[in-house]
């Protein structure tokens, strides 16, 4: 066990250590959770995985909205008089200890019947007796043990999405029929010339009808159920005048089925039912392989996923009541508690507002507001309670109105034509002309064979291998990227990523880390005694800036201060032996308002005499310079920042020369900027992180969100990149280009098989057994080629 960390959550124990039961804890919260677990015989939790817990946060009053029956009713999955079932999303679920403790909730409360964790989705489904335990009590219980559920407006609006399992059913049907048809066609395989005239086996000839009609029966569900999507897609394509790859496939399936049926009906031969069912099975297998989803990630999130369901409204009589976010009207007074999100734009009325806009901008440092200031939706209040008056309703707020833009309503995937589809168009034209030409030739030469040849061409040219190349190549790339923490929404994103020629970056939180951990000192030099005093004063403060400044300053002896005071939202004061320091904002230290608003600074004064300030800088991610240098060779680059120009100089030094930098960009401006580039014909990848980038991410061909914690926060996008992998970004784009080359090579390979097959078909010698060998052979070699090549690419990626 790691004795340096907190026994419960594993955080570094800094200065304050709480000892309990011979174990060390970082705070009272962690200790309390340990007490709860150990008194309920649940300390096995700590043995499965050491330090698996999370520090419980203050939740007082936060879940009051769960008292409202209307809200609770929409969250529940099942509800009768005695029993309720709820499915809660808990972001902290991350290890086997989490599963174990959450599935033993009934030890903590006798009114919980069962609880079941779905680890990939990070959810827990709890069945409990509603007459003895309310949903609010359940949620508070979970929050108290560090597993706070995430309940957002999204849960409230979308009621239970049913899981689409139709592809699994279709694959099951096709596989089932394929196996049985293969088994039933064995007699024919053994006795290849099995017609009564050429002297085949008597037994086989006698019973061949029953075998053939059974095969026919098995192929019915394959054609009309498992393969129906190909017909629908081909029909839709034709109706909008597009020859997609599904047209030759649907044609192939239809011709296979009709010709086989006619053959057995008129006793001409035994049909191609084995090839037919095999074809559909392989095609669906490709589709299934392509369908890699990351259950714990969501690519469709909008502001609703982050906004609370309900907030506290103050009535005219000064009473508190819980109101649903949608019902907030202009002029209402809201009470925003510690750690609560501000749902609408408004004016601060009273309280010390210290608002964290990191959801919106990626900027982690909290912004202070005074009463009378405007506050915007999306900010999270830290430390204490504030009151605000509403200026705009939810959907009209500064941030949320971004989602009324048309870009969020159109599905961009429809516009994109994939490589397979563009090849499918030419392929269909060529196949049809070969089919008609050879049929015309045989009409003159030997009319009895013309129909036979025509259908044989359509059967053998059915582009099974071609349509498998893309799903297997891209599906495998998707998995390889996923293993390297680059999660993409679907395989189409890889194709689009391979085509981009412009890369646009957000600044704060994207190319900089969210922590501000470097600072430089400007001003009069400090004496050793002052430095020691400053360090010791900072030691007691929990403010993020104090913590990072404390970590940066040189090690000092620990002394006990004579005086120490913390002014919330302003600064610190400390005194020792007749010397005093003030550390904090400009108006606290010097009684003057900050004149340099571009940078974050902590000012210092000693014995009421101004000394200087520590200026904090954004720290750039490791490898930013290299990534930009490498990209600038082949891509156009730009930086769009919502921030002021304070960092302009440093950025110019860091990035390749002449990289355009734009500052003070509003969310809508970012979106418009990308649109204007697209109108010039550029294909764009946008890399961003906050909700303010959401419009730009949706507008760009590929929107990639950078996230420090992929499971918890990311705006709607096409891909999520783990922040630690930022410097690999270009190599991932490069790998997608290579993947497209593999697909093209696979097409060549499968065309080679098609030409062999066409030789048999055109010359009128196509036997069912040749089709039955050639088709799986071409499919399997294309799949093997695609898989091996993508794995080779994957090996080179970090």
């Amino acid at each position: 066990m790691d004795s340096n960390g907190c026994y419960h959550c594993g955080d570094n124990l800094e200065d304050k250590v709480i000892k309990f039961d011979d174990k060390k804890f970082c705070c009272n919260g962690c200790k309390t959770v340990y007490e709860i677990f150990s008194t309920n015989d649940l300390s096995y939790y700590y043995e499965l995985q050491s330090a698996a817990g999370a520090t419980p946060k203050a939740i007082e009053g936060k879940y009051d909205f769960l008292k409202s029956a209307a809200i609770v009713d929409r969250l529940l999955e099942f509800n009768d008089d005695k029993l309720q079932i709820v499915n809660l999303y808990i972001p902290h679920i991350h290890c086997s200890s989490c599963i174990w403790i959450l599935e033993n909730l009934n030890k903590l409360s006798p009114h919980i019947n069962t609880s079941q964790v779905d680890f990939p989705k990070k959810t827990v489904r709890v069945t409990y007796q509603s007459n003895a335990l309310s949903l609010q009590e359940l949620v508070i219980l979970l929050a108290r043990i560090g597993y706070e559920p995430y309940i957002s407006l999204d849960d409230y609006d979308n009621k239970k999405k049913s899981i689409d399992r139709s592809l699994v059913y279709q694959l099951g049907v096709a596989g089932f029929a394929f196996g049985n048809v293969m088994f039933l066609s064995f007699p024919d395989y053994f006795d290849l010339s099995s017609s009564a005239y050429s002297g085949g086996e008597f037994w086989l000839n006698r019973y061949q009808h029953i075998f053939r009609w059974l095969m026919f029966v098995f192929s019915l569900p394959v054609v009309f159920y498992a393969g129906k999507d190909y017909f629908i897609s081909a029909f839709k394509g034709l109706r909008s005048n597009i020859l997609n790859i599904d047209v030759p496939i649907a044609l192939g399936i239809a011709v296979l089925f009709l010709r086989s049926t006619l053959e057995i009906a008129f006793d001409w031969g035994n049909g191609f039912f084995d090839s037919l069912t095999g074809l559909v099975f392989f095609l669906l297998l490709g589709k299934f392989f392509q369908q890699k989803t990351y259950a714990f990630l969501s690519f469709e999130r909008d502001y609703k996923s982050y906004f609370p369901i309900a907030v506290t409204r103050l009535t005219a009589e000064g009473k508190e009541e819980t109101t649903q976010v949608h019902d907030i009207k202009k002029g209402d007074r809201l009470l925003i508690r510690n750690e609560e999100l501000i749902p609408v734009d408004g004016i601060l009325i009273n309280g010390n507002a210290n608002i964290d806009y990191s959801f919106v901008t990626g900027e982690s440092e909290a912004v202070k507001k005074k009463s009378g200031d405007k506050v915007f939706a999306g900010g999270k209040q830290l430390h204490g309670v504030i009151e605000m008056e509403v200026l705009k309703s939810v959907s009209q707020s500064y941030l949320t109105q971004l989602w009324s833009n048309a870009v969020f309503k159109t599905d961009s995937s429809n516009k994109f034509q994939s490589l397979t589809d563009s090849i499918g168009k030419r392929f269909t034209i060529v196949v049809l002309s070969i089919a008609f030409a050879s049929a015309a030739f045989w009409l003159f030469y030997d009319p009895s064979k013309a129909m036979n040849v025509f259908t044989a061409v359509l059967i053998i040219a059915c582009p099974c291998a071609i349509s498998l190349a893309a799903p297997f190549t891209l599906g495998n790339m998707l998995r390889i990227f996923g293993q390297r923490k680059f999660y993409l929404k679907n395989t189409q994103t890889i194709e689009q990523l391979a085509q981009i020629d412009t890369a646009i970056f957000d600044k704060t939180g994207t190319i900089t880390t969210t922590e501000k951990s470097t600072a430089t000192y400007e001003g009069m030099p400090l004496t050793a005694a002052e430095e020691s005093l400053i360090k010791n004063t900072l030691r007691a403060s929990n403010h993020p800036l104090s913590r990072s400044l404390y970590a940066m300053l040189a090690e000092q002896n620990i002394v006990t201060l004579d005086e120490y005071e913390e002014h919330l939202g302003k600064g610190l004061g400390g005194a020792k032996g007749g010397r005093s320091v003030k550390i904090g904002s400009a108006d606290f230290v010097t009684n003057e308002l900050e004149n340099d608003t571009l940078n974050t600074a902590v000012h210092i004064s000693s014995n009421e005499e101004y000394k200087g300030k520590y200026v904090f800088h954004n720290e750039y991610r490791e490898g930013v310079e290299e990534v930009f240098q490498a990209m600038s060779k082949t891509l156009k680059l730009a930086v769009l920042s919502g921030d002021n120009e304070g960092e302009k100089k440093r950025l110019e030094e860091l990035l390749p020369k002449l990289t355009p930098l734009y500052f003070n960009q509003k969310p809508q401006q970012k979106l418009d900027f990308i649109k204007s580039l697209q109108e010039k014909g550029n294909k764009i990848v946008m890399v961003g992180d906050g909700l303010n980038d959401a419009g730009a991410l949706a507008q760009a061909e590929v929107g990639i969100a950078i996230s420090e914690n992929v499971a918890i926060f990311s705006p709607a996008c096409d891909g999520i990149l783990d922040a630690t992998k930022f410097k690999q970004l270009f190599s991932y784009i490069f790998a997608s280009r290579k993947a497209m080359k593999i697909i093209k090579l696979s097409f060549v390979l499968s065309l080679f098989y098609n030409i062999i097959g066409l030789y048999f078909a055109v010359s009128g010698q196509l036997q069912p057994v040749i089709a039955a060998i050639l088709m799986p052979l071409s499919s399997i070699s294309v799949v093997a080629f695609a898989t091996i090549m993508t794995n080779l690419i994957g090996k080179k990626l970090k």
Binding site: I99, F119, P120, I163, R165
Partner: protein, 67 residues
């Protein structure tokens, strides 16, 4: 030789039984979460033994800590 009808019928019926079983298992959501059950099955035994062993384990831990 008409026993072939019987054999075929049996084989088809057996195949269909398994097919229906597959459909039902998909429908009941058995394949929706393929990860958690693999972890869960390792818990059961420890849970039962938990109570008597509890104090012992804590002692062991505290000895380790002192070192």
């Amino acid at each position: 030789m008409s026993v072939i009808y019987l054999l075929l019928a049996i084989s088809v019926v057996v195949a269909i039984i398994f097919f229906v079983a597959f459909i039902f298992s998909v429908k009941s959501g058995q394949y929706d979460d393929s990860f958690t059950p693999s972890v869960r099955m390792l818990f059961e035994d420890e849970l039962v033994k938990k109570k008597p062993k509890d104090e012992l384990q804590i002692d062991k831990k505290s000895i380790q800590l002192k070192e």
